[in-house]
């Protein structure tokens, strides 16, 4: 069987729920061995799109193909090689974790049952496997969901906010595992509302806003288009610092509601600005990165209001601009 060049192909997918448009002509194409992020604020349509990939929601318009086959063509084997979960994974609370996996392995057929021990160990649930799921925390349920996905020997892994409820160590572990999976040729699609998480792990993204695709493409391409990073600056004289920024090219500063300044600038421009502040007798008491360039682009694309002070979208400096 020839390896299809495109693993996931969604074209013009549209879904209404009554008067609300959840997805509006969404296109999404993902190739093999890629970690693809599905970004968007809550309510943007991420879960709807992932549900449509799983066949839980049937789109009103558009086509969806997994491994080159549509749901109608493939029949019951449509989800062969596809695994993952949508929203928090749910299990039978009156059964133990192990028993739940056994039920799911039974549905899959084949030799899925042999993987249960390995799956429980790898997700750190070996001890909890014999406890009823009703006693599991959110993080444990997420990990059981991953274990259930592992049973299906996936070639395509679809995860809805997988880092939800996990501690930082778990998130790091997850990141490494997903990157390794991608290296082995498995395609991963994960959704998140947090660009910072996605930046570190994904190769490409689709950004959804109010059911429409705001951006789709590779992250490195996205970076060249991104506005400047956003920094939080605390100085000995905020007013003077703000005044000074107006004469610096490529630097925009505004006061923050909680005190200090919000500065939009590229790294090199920021360095110049800080040196100028020092020369003009303004001491820098604190400087930290608040929003990466990609995060800033994300907020732009989705029109999300950012916490604290911010400049209107039209006034944000772009790296390509020259003053």
């Amino acid at each position: 069987m020839a390896e299809p060049r495109v693993i996931v192909e969604a074209r013009g997918v549209t879904k209404w729920f009554g008067a609300t448009t959840a997805l509006d002509a969404v296109d999404c194409v993902v190739g093999p061995g890629v970690v693809h992020g599905l970004l968007g604020p809550n309510g943007a349509g991420k879960t709807t799109l992932l549900s449509a990939l799983f066949g839980l929601i049937l789109p009103d318009e558009g086509t969806l193909r997994l491994f080159g086959r549509s749901r109608g063509e493939a029949g019951p084997s449509w989800l062969d090689g596809v695994a993952g979960f949508v929203e928090t994974p749910r299990f039978y609370p009156y059964l133990t974790g192990r028993r739940n996996l056994a039920v799911l392995a039974g549905l899959d057929g084949g030799d899925a049952a042999e993987l249960i021990d390995e799956a429980l160990e790898r997700t750190g649930l070996a001890g909890a496997g014999r406890r009823k799921v009703r006693g599991y925390s959110l993080g444990m349920r997420q990990r059981l969901g991953l274990a259930a996905a592992m049973l299906r020997r996936p070639r395509l892994l679809i995860l809805d906010e997988p880092a939800n409820g996990m501690d930082p160590a778990g998130i790091r572990d997850l990141r490494t595992a997903l990157r390794r999976l991608a290296r082995d040729g498995v395609t991963v699609i994960l959704s998140s509302h947090d660009m910072a998480q996605v930046e570190e792990i994904c190769d490409s993204v689709t950004v959804l806003s109010r059911g429409q695709v705001a951006f789709a493409g590779r992250l490195d391409v996205m970076r060249t288009d991104a506005p400047d990073a956003v920094w939080r600056l605390r100085t000995s004289d905020d007013a003077a610092a703000a005044e000074l920024s107006r004469s610096c090219a490529g630097v925009k500063a505004a006061s923050h509601d909680d005190g200090g300044l919000v500065v939009h600038a590229a790294q090199d421009r920021l360095d110049d600005y800080v040196l100028r502040l020092g020369r003009d007798g303004v001491a820098v008491r604190g400087l930290e990165l608040d929003t990466t360039p990609l995060e800033a682009l994300f907020f732009q694309l989705t029109g999300e209001p950012r916490p604290g002070g911010q400049l209107p979208v039209s006034q944000l400096p772009r790296t390509k601009e020259v003053r």
Partner: protein
Amino acid sequence: MIARIRGMIARLRRRGRHRTRAAALAAGMITLLALSVSGCGSTGLTAPSLQTSLSRTFANLYVLQQAEQGNPKPSAASLDSHASCQKGGTLDIPQDGSGVWLCQITYLVAGPGYPVIAKYNVDVQTDGCYAADGDGPASVNGSPTITGPHYAQLINPLSLIDGCFDTT
């Protein structure tokens, strides 16, 4: 704007699908009703059907009663039993449907060969089953028990008659 038009068209198409589905279910229900028609309007609980069933059942049970009492058994046919029933005891109301019917069963007793009339209050249910409560004469159906050989007390089969007839 264009999205809204596309939305309206798709919603109309979906409503069309729903209408087809609803129409199919309605057609199914109508078929169900039509198939179940087995005598439009009438309940199937008429005097002739009750009379036929009651007289036949009475004859069989009379034979059983005689056998239990140790008397010679007549044949059911020789009894030539006929029932005559009236709903509510009068012909002034429609003789159709469930409720209390008063029945008189005329039969020939073997030997002297003169007719005896046994009376019953019959409670007819809507499914065509009835319970006939004996109302005289006392020796036939008035008493709930009869005496068998060796003075054993047995249930009098003619005291309470359960039977059913076909209403379809």
